[in-house]
Symmetry: C2
Subunit: 401 residues, 2 copies
């Protein structure tokens, strides 16, 4: 008997009708002779509603209490989904993160899964139950509830699929697969039947909101067969696996990410150790830095610019201000009106013309490039946020027809 | 350092303002040099909202999943209250039922506390934290979440006070104490400065919604000093203890309970074992029966009537219908348009005139009595629900001035 892990996001369970729809998918999979573990996020706006409730009381709650609050969201959705499965006449049991054995570290709000103790899960599967697991949450060594941060439910699902050696891990969303560009912006975007882990990772990291990069990293590490598909249309989605079929396409997709801010530290001393001091401080605060640009030194000083996720920008600036004197910086500037547009494709590493083709497309569209970052399989540029849609269209059209 | 357990019901934490108010009470108690454990119910209408969500999906969910769903309510309120305490600059930690060591049996929806493992609680108190515990919930031996049923948060608080040998257990509500009658109906109702466990138990059982009877039973068993007081006015409430000061008052209070239904089994065979068969069947289904009335046998048959909580009426009738043939009953009637009006007072057992005075007051008010039940310290009558307010006023005025 094969085991399939199926993950459903918040919009897939946002109301009673959607919950019943998901119960239909799960029970059909179970009736077809599979064992099923469903991983569920909080319903639609529940998390936002809870955050708003907290904000009214304390805009800066401790992260521990914030996790305690937010994890109630998945508790509601797993119970409701179990009830829906019962309604369809199939045996179901819902499990919270701690009941399903998710042990994490203690980074509240952005915890990492350390291990999954699967005894309870295995026992429920042995009883032929459909097991419905709260995504996004676990417990640390103190038995305190933790949440996994953005995209955490995807990570929960992939980790479970790995721990249980599942045949596949199906991520159901409100889109029906991975496209070469955001279909809401790029009209001629094409759905990919399959894609490699590395390509998906770049796309996820670069703002394609279909899958979270942590979940793709984990799928790659444990060789989990991922599939992205629609909870509303029963059609094939996009398979993510080690060796995605060779395609004629050089570029797998174009993405944009508006959740980014650029921070510039102006006039720091041009001496060794400056970059180390800046970025080790940010790392200690668990602030991830993306594109980094350092100007050539002049008159004994230089400028260092980098990008961070927008909701880390204020904290990053605050940290840097405490270092300002030590670095000899004259100014710390934060610009949130920026967007990152990227192209991804395993083919580009052997095609040196890709970057220039991308820059040409942006030039033709009259768009100024602020920063550039490249890897073996992607090129990203930072531009003014007002240009983000036209940039995405221009880049997509240049590479994908 | 004294330990005080403070319990706050759903209306006391119904919105951000009320949560901050409760945080003020708790932190003032803590700043006065006490250790504080706060037990909290779900906010205002949360439980009803969750029940409604479930009903849309499955009107008959399993009790396990129902408990999983409902226990999310307290999770939200403990996290919010902890955030409010943090906002006031005091150290707080919220704990769910399982984290606070509440071990229960497996009667989902109406679980009994078996033990409280206080290690974590003690450790948090040692750290001088204000500990905020989710009422109404625990875990059974399978590590599944259970709820304690109606009034469960009161029971949680009293059990905690007993387990931690607290100096007192303060139950904060939206009334400021225990009155001789419901002040919303009986204008001249008087607040009692103190009352004995037994009297409070009768009042609680008979519909005074200030305290749940299970919590009073437990307070009596473990000799916990209870106090009922207002979360909105900082004035003394009513103390519940073993030897309440002798009062001149014969009667401590008058109550009414509209959450009651009368079931009549008409024409059952007048042979031994009939009552046993009926009530053992109901007991097996955990349906509590209150007043029982059996008619004198005539023509080899008799009628048996009894009252149950209104939300058990349908289940009781369904059970009895399966017994109908065996009992030879001609009809099973359920009347939900009834109300139970009671008077309570330790003085009455030595005053035989109390019952007749109560019946006279009802007669004077033109109210027909359907059933009567007495104990050493209370007299209850079942009447038509349309008369419940006037009956309560008439009985209260006859005994209390």
């Amino acid at each position: 008997m094969s085991l399939i892990v199926q993950k459903f996001g918040g919009s897939s369970v946002r109301d009673a009708g959607r919950v019943m729809n998901v119960a239909g998918i799960i029970t059909d999979t179970w009736k077809a002779g599979n064992r099923v573990v469903a991983v569920v996020s909080a319903q639609g706006d529940t998390t936002d509603d809870l955050i708003e409730k907290a904000r009214e009381i304390n805009p800066n709650p401790s992260r521990r209490e914030n996790d305690m609050l937010l994890s109630a969201g998945e508790q509601i959705s797993v119970a409701l989904l179990a009830m829906a499965v019962e309604k369809l006449g199939c045996p179901a049991v819902s499990l919270l993160g701690w009941q399903a054995g998710f042990k994490t570290n203690s980074t509240y709000g952005n915890a990492r899964i350390k291990t999954i103790e699967t005894d309870r899960l295995q026992a429920e599967l042995e009883k032929n139950n459909i097991v419905i697991v709260a995504g996004f949450q676990g417990v640390n060594k103190f038995d305190d509830v933790t949440t996994l941060g953005r995209g955490g439910s995807d990570t929960s699902a992939v980790a479970l699929a790995a721990a249980l050696s599942a045949k596949s891990c199906q991520i159901f969303t409100d889109v029906d697969g991975v496209y070469t560009g955001d279909p809401r912006i790029v009209k001629n975007a094409v759905k990919l039947p399959e894609i490699s882990y590395d390509e998906m990772l770049e796309l996820a990291t670069l703002g394609a909101q279909v899958l979270h990069n942590r979940s793709v990293e984990m799928a790659k590490k444990y060789n989990v067969n991922l599939e992205v598909l629609s909870s509303l249309q029963r059609i094939p989605g996009t398979k993510v696996k080690e060796n995605a079929g060779v395609e004629k396409m050089l570029i797998r997709g174009a993405t944009r990410d508006n959740d980014v801010a650029r921070i510039s530290i102006v006039g720091v001393r041009d001496i060794p150790g400056v970059a180390f001091r800046i970025f080790s401080r940010l790392a200690a605060k668990k602030i991830n830095v993306d594109i980094i640009l350092q100007s050539v030194g002049r008159d004994g000083t230089k400028d260092i610019s980098f990008t961070v996720a927008r909701d880390h920008a204020a904290e990053a600036v605050a940290e840097l201000n405490t270092l300002k004197e030590q670095l000899g910086a004259t100014e710390i500037i934060c610009d949130e009106n920026v967007s990152k547009v990227s192209i991804v494709g395993a083919g580009m590493e052997t095609h040196p013309g890709v970057a220039s083709k991308m820059f040409e497309a942006l030039f033709d569209a009259g768009i100024n490039i602020q920063m550039i970052s490249t890897s073996e399989i992607k090129i990203s540029v930072l531009i003014d946020i007002k240009d983000s849609e036209s940039a995405l269209k221009a880049v997509h059209d240049a590479f994908i027809d």
